[in-house]
Structure formats: structure tokens, C-alpha cells
């Protein structure tokens, strides 16, 4: 506590987004000279709490105190004035502005009262960049537009941008995710200096080893609730993973007698699949098999599904139903019996204002001739609606009149009408209520009995554990573990998602 002191405490924080509860009862305490590791599984509400502290998001309830006094941060400007700065997971940089312009945005040094002092900006930017000297390419310099930098260099700029405010409290939200080992080392030695200066640091990370290395204290968040806060010395990795996971195993066990997948025909075999994000994926799915894809958000899972469906370009060998294919357009994938249920139903899955019938039949109209035989189309749509147990006012009701769960059923239904041989599911139960989820699981079980091969990406770990025969865990565009049978447990899944160097499975 040489030249600054600060203490921040957030208590009983609550935040809802529509019907989804992001935070139910979250606490966080941090003070000068302390590094607080803030951890939790996917969707536990870490980012939401960070955004509340920086004034980007307003909480529905809860108390925030700074230096012992109660405060509210209605906008990012207010939090910033109090000396709170954040390095965001989704970067807050303007791509077409230069490194220097981005770092000093809103607090540019001025000459006189009006003009930005570009000399001083450039010099101060160089000083900041020197903190990371030797760990980045020569493309990173004050005048370079941010859009020309690599992801790790952008992350460095984002860190320096927060640092340029000389904050009292600094939040690092997944700041190490795109940095390499050398850059992480440099960041950690900087953090040690900041502690000396009296800054308080909140460190959000999924990498256990980093947390053990750098943190003084740790707070664990589970389902929007703080379940433990303690000095790091009083706990260990085992316990933390346990805490993040929780004792609950709420979701269905293996649904029923699995048909022996190893006997069934091989529907899909992929080897060395590469895209901009993926670094060589191998996988196999047999008829009637449900292959889970897990891991932290944004490790290339969506890319994998999109590449298989021909939406994004890829290289590598893809063998579908015994023949090698190379899809460059979803139409080709569709004609080979592949279907993709996308992640964002509002923008990718549905025409929200059009009717249920139109949405269900959108990929299948060509089956109904010219002029369209509407009777048949309606009959087929009704059949699927029955199978899905769709709750609706009628086939002509617009999709936006349905509940989230029922709307999601429509997305699935439109592909079921095409009798897919291979079904790709991109986090299909996001924001869907429990009852509908259950129906959805039953439907998947039925599809499996009928012999459909399914690749299922979910951010809900419990779903993967309950439904899948095998789960591939992705990290940084690579498969880090294949879990099945006795290794298919939540602890293993979390461990494989979070630990960087781990030789389990594969």
C-alpha cells in the first residue's frame, strides 16, 4: 500500500436476462495488493459480475461498496473515474483505429485544451509496449491499425489500454486465453509489480495452473452463486474443480439400452480437419451414436459443426457414408442427408415473423412440386409437430408467438422433415426450459433408435454426461481428451476443459 489503496466488495448480486438467471447470489471481495482468482464453469456468471463492477451492466439487485462506501455505477465512465479498469474477454478495441488511438481513447493527452498531443501519445504508447518487449512481432507498434494485429497482440493492446488508466482495481477477464507462455510469464511479472504498487487485481481464468501460480485468494461461482471464497493456500485444484462442478447430477442418466454402436455402420469419419480455428480434428460417428462435443466456450466447437455442414471452408478428409466428400455449400451437405441445428435460433434458425408451417417446410419445399401441394405440406408438418409435441396456436401462427422451447423444437423439426442421416446440433438447449429439455432428450433417444448419427455440441456439461456415449473435449481447436465409460465424469470433463497440459485419453 505505497501510493494507492482500494477495497471493493460486491454483495448478493442478482441479474436476470429475460427469463435466464445469470447471477442469483454472487459476492466478490478484493483489496489492495491482492490477486483474487475468480473461477466457475461455463455460464456461471463470471463475465456478468465483472461487467457489473465496471458499470457496463446494471444489476437487478445487490450492494456494491468501494472503500467501504456504497456506490452505483450507472455507466462505464463512472466506474472508470473511480479507478476501475477491465481487460475484456471480447475485446473492446476499435479495429480500424491504431494501437495508440485505441489505448488512449477517452484519455488522450492534450496540448492546449483541444488538440491531441500525438507526440506524447506515441511516446507513452511505446513506453507501455516496452512492458511486453520481446514477446511480440514488429507489426505491433503505435501506428499500426488494430485490425492488422494477431489475436495475442490485440490482447496485449487490450491489457495496455486498461493499464494506461493507471487503475486502482484491474479486472483481467480471460486475459491469458490467447497469450502464449512467454507473454503469460511477462504478464505475471507485471501483475506482481502492480500488487507492490497497491493495485487490486481480479483474475478470471480457466487455467488452473495459472490460478495456483498467481492468486492470493479464490472465489468460486456456480450457477450465479458464490459457493466459496478462501485464501489460495487453504485449497487445492481437486477441491476447486469439485466446487465448480457441485454435487448435483441433475440430468438424466444414460437414457436407455444403448444399441451397441461399434456394430453399426460408420456414418462419418473425419481426419485432420482444419479451419482457421481448428488445428486438425479426428473423429468418427456411427449410426445411432450420440457423440458429444464439450469444452469451454469458443474452443472451435461451432467451427467444427459449421465446417462439416459446408458453411466455412476447411481442409482435411471427411468420409460420409463411405464416400469422401468436400462440401463448399450447405446445399451439398443437405442433399447428402446432413442437417445442422444452429446455435442462435433467432438469427440462424428461424424466420421469426413467419408461420410455423413456413419455417418447418423452408428446407423442403422442393418436395411439394409446382404449384405447391399445400395439403400434403400441412399433413407432413402436423405429423412432425405431433412428434415434437409442439405447443402452438396452429401451423399458421408466427414463430415469434411460441415460447423459446417450442421455437427451438421448430428448428429441429424442419430438419427432421428431411430425415437426416447425420444430425449436427450446435448447443440446441441454450435458454430452453427444463420440461422442453426433457422432451428434447427423449426425441434424441428416439432418433438414435432409428439409427440417426448425432454430433452434439453443448455448453451444458450435465447434458453431455447424461446423453452421450463418448465426449470429445476441444481446447484451442484441438481434441484434448476423449471421454467415455468410466472416464466420462464431470470432474474429468472440467479437468480436460481447463487444464492446459494434460495427457488424458485421446
Amino acid at each position: 500500500m505505497k501510493n494507492m489503496s482500494v477495497s471493493l466488495s460486491a454483495r448478493d448480486m442478482v441479474k436476470h436476462y429475460g427469463g435466464v438467471v445469470a447471477l442469483s447470489d454472487a459476492d466478490l471481495d478484493v483489496r489492495s495488493g491482492q490477486v483474487l482468482a475468480f473461477i466457475g464453469a461455463n455460464g456461471s456468471g463470471k463475465s456478468t459480475l465483472c461487467k457489473i463492477i465496471t458499470g457496463v451492466v446494471e444489476p437487478d439487485a445487490g450492494r456494491l461498496s468501494l472503500d467501504g462506501e456504497r456506490v452505483t455505477f450507472p455507466s462505464p465512465q463512472v466506474a472508470k473515474k473511480q479507478g476501475i479498469a477491465a481487460v475484456y474477454q471480447e475485446l473492446s478495441l476499435i479495429p480500424d483505429m491504431t494501437v495508440a488511438e485505441n489505448i488512449w481513447l477517452t484519455h488522450e493527452p492534450l496540448t492546449g485544451r483541444l488538440l491531441v498531443d500525438s507526440k506524447s501519445v506515441e511516446q507513452k504508447t511505446r513506453e507501455l509496449l516496452d512492458l511486453f518487449s520481446g514477446t511480440y512481432s514488429e507489426g505491433l507498434e503505435p501506428g499500426a491499425p488494430v485490425s492488422t494485429l494477431s489475436p495475442d497482440e490485440r490482447q496485449i493492446v487490450e491489457i495496455l489500454k486498461a493499464l494506461s488508466l493507471n487503475p486502482r482495481l484491474m479486472i483481467l477477464d480471460e486475459a491469458t486465453a490467447s497469450l502464449d507462455a512467454q507473454q503469460v510469464d511477462r504478464l505475471f511479472s507485471l501483475i506482481a509489480n502492480w500488487k507492490e504498487e497497491g493495485k487490486a487485481i481480479v483474475f478470471v481464468s480457466h487455467r488452473m495452473e495459472e490460478i495456483m501460480r498467481i492468486a492470493d485468494c479464490v472465489s468460486v461461482l456456480r450457477n450465479g452463486e458464490t459457493v466459496k471464497t478462501s485464501p489460495i493456500g487453504d485449497t487445492d485444484e481437486e477441491e476447486l474443480v469439485e466446487l465448480m462442478v457441485g454435487g448435483t447430477q441433475a440430468i438424466p442418466d444414460q437414457l436407455d439400452e444403448t444399441l451397441e454402436p461399434s456394430e453399426a455402420a460408420k456414418r462419418l469419419a473425419v481426419s485432420g480437419l482444419q479451419t482457421r480455428v481448428l488445428k486438425g480434428i479426428d473423429l468418427e460417428v456411427r449410426d445411432g451414436e450420440l457423440l458429444g462435443i464439450g469444452g469451454l466456450r469458443g474452443q472451435g466447437q461451432s467451427d467444427l459443426l459449421l465446417a462439416l455442414f459446408g458453411v466455412i471452408p476447411c481442409s482435411g478428409r471427411v468420409v460420409l457414408s463411405g464416400a469422401e466428400v468436400h462440401f463448399t455449400h450447405p446445399r451439398q451437405a443437405m442433399s447428402e442427408g446432413v442437417a445442422l441445428v444452429p446455435g442462435d435460433r433467432a438469427t440462424e434458425g428461424l424466420l421469426m415473423r413467419r408461420s410455423v408451417l413456413e419455417n418447418l417446410q423452408l428446407p423442403s419445399w422442393q418436395k411439394y412440386g409446382f404449384p405447391l401441394s399445400m395439403d400434403k405440406a400441412r399433413r407432413d408438418a402436423n405429423r412432425v409437430a405431433d412428434t415434437l409435441n409442439l405447443v402452438m396456436a396452429g401451423l399458421s401462427a408466427p414463430v415469434n408467438s411460441l415460447s423459446g422451447g417450442n421455437a427451438q423444437k421448430v428448428v429441429l423439426g424442419k430438419w427432421l422433415l428431411r430425415d437426416p442421416k447425420l444430425l449436427l446440433l450446435n448447443d440446441p438447449t441454450k435458454g430452453v426450459d427444463v420440461g422442453t429439455k426433457q422432451e428434447f432428450y427423449n426425441l434424441l433417444a428416439q432418433l438414435r433408435r432409428e439409427g440417426t448419427a448425432i454430433v452434439f455440441y453443448s455448453t451444458d456439461d450435465q447434458e453431455l454426461l447424461g446423453l452421450c456415449d463418448r465426449v470429445l473435449v476441444l481446447r484451442d481447436g484441438e481434441v484434448t481428451a476423449e471421454l467415455s465409460g468410466s472416464t466420462l465424469t464431470h470432474a474429468e470433463l472440467v479437468r480436460a476443459s481447463m487444464e492446459s497440459n494434460q495427457g488424458n485419453g485421446v
Binding site: 457496463v56 491531441v116 501506428g143
Partner: protein
């Protein structure tokens, strides 16, 4: 690497393409009209270009800030009507000053209405300003139902003056450019580019996004007034439909000047060049004895090209990636 250098160059000097067009167009114009740079022709041209320069400069600021203003032409009509109604052949100095101040104020109030709707009520800029353009046109017709009015000859003569041997309109055009170069170095400009480039990031960084958006429309309103003033000084009379066609032309000039319609990039220097290029093309067409509707076609083609450009480039790149 080459790609990166090109990108940096185009971000730092967005007007380079416009400069190339400008030199080419002026060259052709000079060939068909050898006395192009004589004081008389230069002065005549600049008096015609200046109103559009003011208007396009305003449009450029709105576009860089991530919006668009389709009501600028209607604002010109409205302010033109106000000017010729308040100022008559016999007006004295005080009446003239009142008239001009009222005109400038009217433009800013109109811009404020646009800005509040877009920045705070959060309506779509295209729809909002298209709708308000009818309101402003209506006001123009209400004030001045049919063309008419006459300014004092002193005022129109002043606009034709040539201080230090160069036309007044040219001096003013240079001044617009200079003001922009200065403004480019202020914090306001940084905020403007940030808001147009990535509004969410700008907000998270603490840039007052709504206020910035509002300000761009108010500035556009003020510049519409100045445009109307220059136009009225040039014609000396009023016409409630005089600005109608100018909106589209101002957008074309902005695009020609190297400003991206999606915002966050570009500027006024290129826009001014864009105005001259358009005017010069118009000159060439009139000298080439082809029907004037060619001008409309050229304008339309430029807009289509500008809108389709990024998509076409991606298509070409994507194609080469496949190969």
C-alpha cells in the same frame, strides 16, 4: 505483409483513390475545356461546387459516425425558403444578419430533431431521416409555395468576389479542408471514428456514444444551412424544391471520397475531392454533347459500385482461396 501496408495506407489516407480520380477528371476536363483554370471559369465552377461541398462535408461526418442523413437536401430547400422570405431586395444589414442567423438556427434545429430520434429514441437512421425529409420539404413548400424572392444584389456580388485573385468560394472550400485537418486532431474526432467503427467497444471504453451520434446530425444540419446559404447567394432567389436532388449527390461524393458507408473510416478531404470529381464529370458530359441523364446514371453506378465493392472483393478473394 503487402496487404497490411495497403490497409494502413488506406486508413491513414482514405482520399488517395479520390485524388487519382480528381487528377484524371481534371485532366480530361482541361482537354475539352482549355480555359478551365481561367479566373472566370474557375470562379463559376467553384460557386456551383461550394454548396455541395458544405452538404457533403456534413454527410461525411454523419457517415463516419455510423449513420446517414437522407434529409439534408430537404433541409437545404427549407433554409433556402427561409432566407428568401426573411431577406428581400430592400433588406438592410440588420435584416440580413437576422435572416442568416435564423437560417443557421433552423438547420441546427432540424438536425437536432434527426439526432434525437436516432441517438436517443434509437430509430433507424435511414428511415428516420427519410421521414423527416418530407417534413422539411413540407415546411419549405409552406413557407414558399412557388419559386420566387430576390436577394439584395450586394449579397450576390459578394459571393462572386475574388480576394487575392482567387474566387471567394475556393477560399471557403480550402477553409473547410483546413478546419477538418485541425478537427481531425481533436478528441472529438477520435470519438467520432470510434463510435462509427465499433459502437459497443466505444461504449465499454467510456465514449459518450449517444451524444456523439446526436452531435453528428446537428453538425450536418448546420452544414446544410451553410450549403443553402451558398446556394441562395449563387442563384439570388428561392425555390422550395432546390435541394431535392442534392441528398443523393452528397452521398455519392462521400463514397467517391473514400469513406465507407458502414462508418468509422474516411473523412472530409476525400469528400471535397469527390464533389469536384462529380462536378467535373458534369462539365465533361455537357461538353461531350450527350444527354444530361447520363449524369444520373453515373451517380447511380458509383453508388452501386461502392455498395457492392466490399462484397465483390470478398467474392474475388474467396474464389482465389478455393483455387
Amino acid at each position: 505483409m503487402n496487404d497490411i501496408r495497403l490497409k494502413r495506407l488506406s486508413l491513414r489516407h482514405p482520399y488517395l483513390f479520390a485524388l487519382f480520380l480528381l487528377i484524371t477528371a481534371l485532366g480530361v476536363n482541361l482537354y475539352v475545356q482549355p480555359n478551365l483554370f481561367s479566373q472566370r471559369v474557375l470562379s463559376g465552377n467553384m460557386r456551383i461546387f461550394l454548396p455541395l461541398m458544405f452538404l457533403s462535408a456534413g454527410q461525411a461526418i454523419v457517415v463516419v459516425g455510423g449513420g446517414i442523413d437522407l434529409s439534408m437536401g430537404a433541409m437545404v430547400s427549407m433554409v433556402n425558403a427561409i432566407l428568401v422570405t426573411l431577406i428581400t431586395r430592400e433588406s438592410g444589414t440588420s435584416d440580413i444578419v437576422t435572416g442568416i442567423l435564423a437560417a443557421l438556427g433552423a438547420g441546427m434545429v432540424a438536425g437536432l430533431a434527426n439526432g434525437l430520434s436516432v441517438a436517443y429514441v434509437r430509430l433507424q437512421p435511414i428511415v428516420t431521416t427519410y421521414a423527416t425529409s418530407f417534413i422539411f420539404s413540407g415546411i419549405a413548400l409552406w413557407i414558399l409555395p412557388r419559386p420566387g424572392g430576390l436577394l439584395p444584389s450586394g449579397m450576390t456580388e459578394l459571393y462572386r468576389a475574388t480576394p487575392l485573385g482567387l474566387p471567394l468560394a475556393l477560399w471557403i472550400a480550402l477553409l473547410i479542408g483546413l478546419v477538418w485537418v485541425g478537427a481531425r486532431r481533436t478528441r472529438y474526432a477520435r470519438f467520432l471514428f470510434a463510435v462509427g467503427g465499433e459502437p459497443e467497444s466505444a461504449y465499454a471504453t467510456g465514449v459518450p456514444v449517444s451524444l456523439m451520434r446526436l452531435s453528428t446530425y446537428v453538425i450536418a444540419g448546420l452544414l446544410s444551412s451553410l450549403s443553402a446559404l451558398a446556394l441562395t447567394l449563387n442563384t439570388g432567389t428561392g425555390d422550395p424544391r432546390i435541394g431535392e436532388a442534392m441528398t443523393l449527390t452528397s452521398i455519392v461524393a462521400v463514397v467517391l471520397g473514400g469513406t465507407r458507408l458502414s462508418g468509422g473510416q474516411g473523412g472530409i478531404i476525400g469528400t471535397l475531392m469527390g464533389v469536384v470529381v462529380l462536378g467535373t464529370i458534369r462539365n465533361i458530359i455537357s461538353f461531350a454533347n450527350v444527354p444530361t441523364w447520363w449524369q444520373t446514371l453515373v451517380d447511380a453506378l458509383i453508388i452501386v459500385g461502392a455498395l457492392a465493392g466490399p462484397g465483390l472483393i470478398r467474392l474475388i478473394r474467396g474464389g482465389s482461396e478455393e483455387a
